[in-house]
């Protein structure tokens, strides 16, 4: 680890619990680099997660960290942020955590446009409970609870976020790290609810169940199947099937929740 990044980690809590080849460490590293690049005030950063392999990330990070209940990170984060808008609140969550059990909280956090950055570790599977299908598992893929192939259709998380009202929406992968750091930086600087879906890899469960080969092979898959938002615009539906579109999808300046609430306080007190 680079010396200048050590202060962001709880070195004594390492090594982490993630499997060799897991993509989650790369995302965690990208978040830390983005924080470092922006020189954010460490004491004001709160990192909140739910439950899952991905949600163990905050334990390794040297900030105010909160490891909540499965799917509920955004609810806790909303309380933290509204109670003290000076806090920089970052939610790290898994695809199952965020879109299944936490789906309702996710769409409502998007709708409120509260100034929280959510990084979704999307490995297309429930890792911690050993490989059941999640709402992000592609149709047709295999999982321990989809032994005949998954018939559930998966979300397009970025479209879901945008339609629900998130004001910064982007997607990256654990292969494209410099770009990922850049979009997390943008998300952190954005005032309002920002979502960065990060396509990760779970070689242990998703990879093995779907015969994807080594972690390196899975990374090559991410490389070969990713297209930028720009390139995607010129591609047909058929060409885009099974492609991962990466880059920034949406950015908007809209009233932010905690600032709107400040106005409520002024209104209420002015009327007294």
């Amino acid at each position: 680890m680079r010396k200048n990044l050590e202060k962001y980690f709880r070195i004594d809590k390492l090594p982490h619990i993630w499997c060799p080849g897991c993509g989650h460490g790369i995302i965690t590293g990208a978040v830390v680099r983005a924080i470092d690049n922006l020189k954010l005030d460490k004491d004001k950063i709160c990192i909140v997660s739910g439950i899952g392999c991905s949600s163990r990330a905050p334990g390794y990070l040297n900030f105010n960290t909160l490891h909540t209940t499965h799917g509920r990170a955004l609810a806790f984060a909303t309380g933290l942020k509204l109670a003290n808008p000076d806090l920089k609140v970052i939610v790290l969550t898994g695809d199952g955590d965020c879109t299944a059990i936490g789906g309702n909280h996710f769409i409502h956090a998007c709708r409120r446009n509260i100034d929280i950055t959510t990084v979704v570790f999307n490995n297309s599977i429930y890792g911690m409970t050993s490989g059941q299908y999640s709402p992000m598992t592609p149709a047709g893929a295999y999982a321990t609870t989809a032994p005949y192939g998954n018939i559930d259709r998966n979300f397009d998380l970025c479209k879901l976020a945008q339609a629900s009202g998130a004001t910064y929406v982007a997607r990256g992968t654990v292969y494209h790290v410099p770009q990922l750091i850049k979009i997390i930086e943008k998300a952190l600087q954005h005032k309002g609810f920002s979502v960065v879906e990060t396509v990760s890899i779970c070689p242990t469960y998703f990879g093995r169940k779907n015969k994807m080969g080594s972690p390196v092979k899975m990374m090559e898959m991410l490389r070969d199947n990713s297209v930028t938002v720009k390139a995607a615009e010129k591609m047909s539906r058929e060409e885009l099937a099974n492609k991962i579109v990466i880059g920034e999808f949406y950015e908007e300046n809209a009233p932010e929740y905690t600032e709107e609430y400040k106005k409520i306080i002024q209104k209420a007190q002015g009327e007294e």
């Binding site: 905050p58 209940t69 509920r72 909303t78 309380g79 933290l80 109670a83 909280h105 209104k267 007190q269």
Partner: protein
């Protein structure tokens, strides 16, 4: 100096008490018969610089309350039966992570959506064991509108003092009742705030270290420059997960100890005519008012009847039962449910008293006449 007397609803008194205790954050989701608490909080909180948010459901509300409390604000949510069920997982999180907060449950008939507009007292056991695992909890139950005000303050104070969620268990009658209330002079109200670490004495802050030996670790709020980790997993004194049996046993024991060592401070009840009573009616909430009325009428007729009105339900006041007068033979447990508290009373009675239930679970309250009839029946058979 008290305020001008005014007509006040129980639910309104709850919000006023909460604000007097320092509540500055409310997150909730509407449900009858607790809804007025949210509505009044939405109006009142911003006036005192506090925050109100209507979340997407009760699970989210409970999460937001815990987040806000960690950020340093005194936080509350209010609900009723089905919503209380939804809060339970995060309530357990607050118990284990020792985040102060107040949860108001204005009970309605159950199970399930049950009887939304009708009174019941069927959440006695949910208030104690609704969440999974062994955990501490404090539950208070008011009987009068003015008492709702005082008890909400007490709920915040106990919650902050012991870093434990405190449940205010109301029933629909008390929540919706309007009574003439004189509020106390704000200057006379005692407010307790969470214990803070003394950094002149502490070299390294461990968020779950029992520095003072009272079982209650001092608390730093997020954002105050002392970062630490909070997790719903079993954790050691540093706050990090541990699978060690010794760490697990120590943590659960300490959580229980911080309550069990302070029963005298936490437990509160009212005894009426119990000194020479042959029969004592044990009750709480609105039912206790019928019991008191019944006892007053029966005393005039020479019946030796007393009332034990529980204000603290959990931890259960076993001593109050065990210390009933030697004259006492019968205990009638009057409650608007099929019989929840009676089992606990029987456990404290240990066969010393004849314990009889007076139960009603049809959505109607227990009237003084019904208590009178029950006492007469018990005394005749005795």
């Amino acid at each position: 100096m008290t305020s001008k007397p005014r007509l006040m609803q129980g639910n309104e008194a709850c919000v006023e008490g909460a604000i007097a205790a320092g509540m500055r954050f409310y997150a909730g989701y509407p449900i009858t018969p607790s809804t007025e608490i949210a509505e009044i909080a939405a109006e009142r909180l911003p006036k005192v610089g506090g925050k109100f948010i209507q979340m997407e459901d009760e699970i989210a509300s409970m999460g937001a309350v815990i987040g806000a409390s960690l950020a340093g604000l005194k936080a509350m949510t209010a609900t009723s039966g089905p919503g209380f069920s939804l809060k339970q997982e995060n309530l357990g999180f607050a118990c284990l992570t020792e985040v102060p907060c107040v949860v108001v449950d204005v009970q309605r008939g159950g199970p399930s959506t049950g009887q939304p507009t009708m009174p019941a007292q069927g959440d006695v056991m949910q208030a104690r064991w609704g969440t999974h695992g062994d955990h501490p909890i404090i539950t208070l139950s008011p009987s009068y509108v003015r008492e709702v005000f005082d008890m909400t303050i007490r709920a915040f104070n106990l919650s902050e003092k012991y870093r434990v969620p405190c449940i205010l268990l109301m029933d629909e009658v008390v929540g919706h009742l309007r009574e003439r209330v004189e509020l106390p002079d704000p200057a006379s109200i005692k407010v307790i705030n969470r214990k803070r670490p003394d950094f002149s004495k502490i070299e390294q802050y461990n968020p779950y270290q029992d520095y003072d030996g009272d079982g209650v670790p001092p608390m730093v709020n997020f954002g105050e420059g002392v970062p630490y980790h909070v997790t719903g997993l079993i954790h050691d004194i540093t706050g990090f997960p541990s699978t060690s049996p010794a760490v697990t046993e120590y943590l659960i024991s300490r959580l229980m100890r911080k309550i069990n060592d302070n029963l005298d401070d936490i437990i509160d009840y009212e005894k009426l005519y119990t000194e020479d009573a042959e029969t004592v009616v044990v009750s709480f909430g609105s039912t206790a008012r019928s019991a008191i009325r019944a006892a007053k009428i029966l005393r005039k007729e020479g019946e030796k009847v007393g009332v034990l009105r529980l204000k603290t339900i959990w931890p259960f006041p076993h001593k109050a039962i065990q210390e009933l007068a030697p004259t006492t033979k019968n205990i009638i447990v009057a409650e608007m449910n099929y019989g929840q508290l009676i089992e606990v009373v029987e456990a404290s009675a240990k066969g010393r008293f004849n314990v009889i239930g007076l139960n009603k679970f049809n959505g109607e309250l227990i009237s003084p006449d019904e208590v009178i009839a029950k006492v007469r029946e018990v005394n005749k058979n005795a």
